[in-house]
Symmetry: C2
Amino acid sequence: MQTLGRHLIAELYDCDADALDAVATVQAAMRAGAAAVGATVVGELFHKYAPQGVTGTLLIAESHLSVHTWPESGYAAVDVFTCGGLDPRPAVAVLCGHLGARSYRVQEIVRGRDADISAGRALRPDDVVVVTELADPQILR
Amino acid sequence: MQTLGRHLIAELYDCDADALDAVATVQAAMRAGAAAVGATVVGELFHKYAPQGVTGTLLIAESHLSVHTWPESGYAAVDVFTCGGLDPRPAVAVLCGHLGARSYRVQEIVRGRDADISAGRALRPDDVVVVTELADPQILR
């Protein structure tokens, strides 16, 4: 099976603070995000921080979605990682809508074995920003 | 609370196929990784794929660790995302050891609000590769 994956790193800014602090809202946003990309959810786990903030993840048959929220800053860190040819971008758009993000920043990282990443170029839209090549093998030393 | 986070995107290559296909082994590797960075685990969720492969996540008080494995390719996609000043790098080294990775590739992305990212420069080692600035606001359009 091909290892090629598309991983969106999304920073959601100026979100609705109440939405970011409600597990039910964050959970609904994530489920809607997963549905928007056509993912199959195989498990989910959410946790409410004290005094505020929510963290959670959806395991999907095609990898995962994760979210961490800072209601006091209106900020949410979102990841959408998909394999199997799914386009992860609709999930970020849906999460922005559910959480009331007024601005965001996003980048895409291509994951996998080198051969699969190379062979998978045709699957990626032209506007995908590939930053995988920036990796520094010295980083752990 | 500061939103500054450090997110390692790690590609583990030429791993032990049996390790990558055993939930117990992957789970133990992830717990050891979380311990190595001093993280507090608040929840965990793992799933075994058929016919092979494991996916899982540890929610930690300081964000998350995630893993997806392709035993047939000897490949594991690992994320270690930490906030609160924790250095995520020891977790990747521990996971490489537990899963028998013979090579790897890793990059670090700095997460958070712009002001916190800027103010947090002193917390980051000099060898951190900051790629956040590459984000393309057009990517969802």
